[in-house]
Symmetry: C2
Subunit: 409 residues, 2 copies
């Protein structure tokens, strides 16, 4: 059984048109106009193969092919279509359209399957609109209440539930996923790093997903005149931030585990004038590791660093946790299954760790999860230059298709 790569390419091209920043990469924030166009495209494609389309809690989109046996747990295939600001065309989208194509192949060829197959699109995976990641999968898994969803707000102050309503996205099934209802979850995703490319391999099989702890940090100093205030009398919040950012890099670099990464990706400096000492700086911290003890240790070192730096500089600070997802070890059974199918297709595989989080991390607490990685050119991701060769997408989509058929029959 083979996917039709022409259809996948058409899907990727169609969805790639829906961006708020044309010419400057993909900006498709959850429940934006662009998001809604992409979502409608998927819904239409699912309806063409008579999938039963429904909306679940938090706006997850589900297209179901019923199985021949009643009451069997579902084989779920999916990913996301929301993006970071000025991101790429492949992150998430490749997983969604490959799942869609797998469903098309199964329907076209009348492949018998006892288990239902769900093509799923999880909203707000990236957290770019509401500042919190994996929202769709977390809500569906019962880890985010409606009350918590209503407290997630975008920059305009619009909350998650209101944003859903504005796009006429109304859940038809508000039930939480329970383990008994899900046989397995499969996600095909671009690697977002250089490892596969550097080893000239096409298929990565994810063994574990790094845990992530994100914080929003605010440093408060004293805003004052840049010319008239002697160096010794300054309480410069940006100098405090610079010291902390440099030390964050040192802490991650010096860590014994190579999977430890720490990033400051956002920084805002107030009042932000060339001739005024910054009185207030806000920045984000993103710390990841596949080992939970090691992750805690890094967070501990960084929080101590922030406290000490601020004390030494006469600054005050606020450290607000934004997300905390523990590392996840994926199902050994699924790793073996994907490896077997790849081998049958004469594809070399590499067991890998995912430094990026995925909705699969959440599903892994409910069911067996398998993740297939395909190469990212030069490791670029979350940027307009993000690229994966269509031939590599075809290889990955075929492994996804065959794994899904094996699980569903």
């Amino acid at each position: 059984m083979q996917v039709q790569i022409g259809r996948i390419k058409k899907d990727i091209d169609a969805i790639g048109e829906f961006t708020a920043t044309p010419g400057k990469g993909i900006t498709r924030l959850t429940f934006s106009q662009e998001y809604e166009k992409a979502r409608s495209y998927i819904v239409e494609e699912l309806r063409k193969i008579d999938a039963k389309v429904s909306i679940t809690v938090a706006g997850n989109l589900r297209g179901r092919l019923e199985g021949s046996d009643k009451g069997k747990p579902v084989v779920m295939l999916g990913s996301h279509i929301d993006s970071v600001y000025q991101g790429g065309r492949f992150d998430g989208v490749v997983g969604v359209v490959s799942a869609l194509e797998a469903a098309r192949v199964i329907v076209d060829n009348n492949i018998a399957h006892r288990y239902p197959i769900d093509v799923v699109v999880f909203p707000e995976e990236e957290g770019s609109r509401f500042g919190s990641i994996l929202v769709g999968s977390r809500a569906w898994a019962g880890k985010l209440s409606l009350d918590e969803l209503s407290r997630l707000k975008d920059e305009q102050g619009i909350d998650y539930l209101k944003a859903m309503k504005q796009m006429d996205i109304t859940p038809e099934d508000e039930n939480i996923l329970i383990p008994e209802q899900v046989k397995a979850m499969l996600e095909l995703h671009i690697e977002q790093s250089l490892v596969l490319e550097s080893k000239s391999l096409k298929i990565g099989v994810v063994e574990a997903i790094a845990g992530i702890r994100q914080f929003s940090v605010t440093l408060n100093g004293v805003s004052n005149h840049a010319g008239a205030t002697p160096m010794s009398l300054r309480f410069d919040a940006l100098q405090g931030a610079a010291e902390i950012i440099s030390a964050v890099e040192d802490i991650a670099n010096q860590h014994a585990r190579k999977s430890t990464v720490a990033t400051v990706g956002f920084l805002k400096c107030e009042p932000g004038q060339a001739n005024v000492i910054p009185g207030r700086v806000q920045f984000t911290l993103d710390i990841r590791d596949t080992d939970s003890g090691s992750l805690d240790e890094t967070v501990e070192k960084i929080t101590t660093l922030i406290a000490n730096t601020c004390q030494n500089r006469g600054l005050t600070y606020n450290l607000e946790p934004r997300s905390d997802t523990p590392p996840v070890v994926l199902s050994e059974k699924m790793v073996h299954l994907i490896e077997r199918i790849a081998r049958k297709r004469k594809l070399g595989t590499l067991r890998m760790i995912s430094g990026a989080l995925h909705d699969s991390s959440i599903l892994a607490e409910l069911t067996d999860v398998g993740m297939i990685f395909i190469p990212s050119k030069r490791g670029r991701s979350h940027c307009p230059e993000e690229f994966t060769d269509i031939g590599d997408i075809e290889l990955g989509a075929n492994v996804l298709l065959e794994t899904a058929i094996e699980l569903a029959t």
Copy 2:
């Protein structure tokens, strides 16, 4: 002769209403609606005393009291009314309204003066709208051509001359100031630092104004996924910036001269997402010193630092000079005159250095310049908390008035 402090207070309160950020300090960008309201207020007050109001090159506002002798050079009193973003109510405004009040007292009391007296408002002193400081005085002094003015653009791409036109500000006198036309320039200004307060003195007499060199720095790295990219494969522009910012502080701190200051006041990080490695960072550099050799030395150290840091980190950079004003030693004659008048009024004085630039720095190349400082509470300036006691303003305005009378008679 005494100023009427009630009138000065009324002026300050009236002008303090004109802000684009009510409740969050004064934001009065040059040729904005708020600026125009403040300027109109001054024009109206000048017309009440029959001053001859005119606009000179680059939108400098001049209100003239003609002298009894024909063809004598002018005694200029003035400052600015444009502000930084979310600045204070006193910076610049105190100098303008004290000059206005001096003119009112001279007219009210029919004080004979052989020399003309000009009350002057210089636009774009702070550089907050067009990114370049002291624009009005520099253009008037012949140091900025019309062509250069047309290349100064605000964030919306509106150039300086177009912004003037939008506010119907049309120069009636496009002549450049020449030394023969100006007998002296006097500016009263808040200190913007803690020195007077710490010595419980009310009057500072400025001997020298620090030179300033400003740069806009851009670092380019590679924007990539914050989770999937190992620390060793990163080209993080914000990490480069943090290293540079910390070293800028060290360089200024270690400098033998206590008057050396260096500030990074603005920083923008792109794409600015918690889970994306910053690929591009822009920041400003502001370096000041009263000694020109020492200023050059600091700039040299910092530019070498930027080059080395970028080379070590595999970043590229661009260093764009934004302004370059040499240190200025003010007229010894004026220092003595101000000290004598203060002494007569039984006021202790302190000879000081101004770390902040003023339009007086530019005028000092044409004529004798005197600058009078009055205390800033806790040294705060360029922020909403900026404050100077009305009693201190009265003392300073009286010294300004009497010095002006002495110079003009």
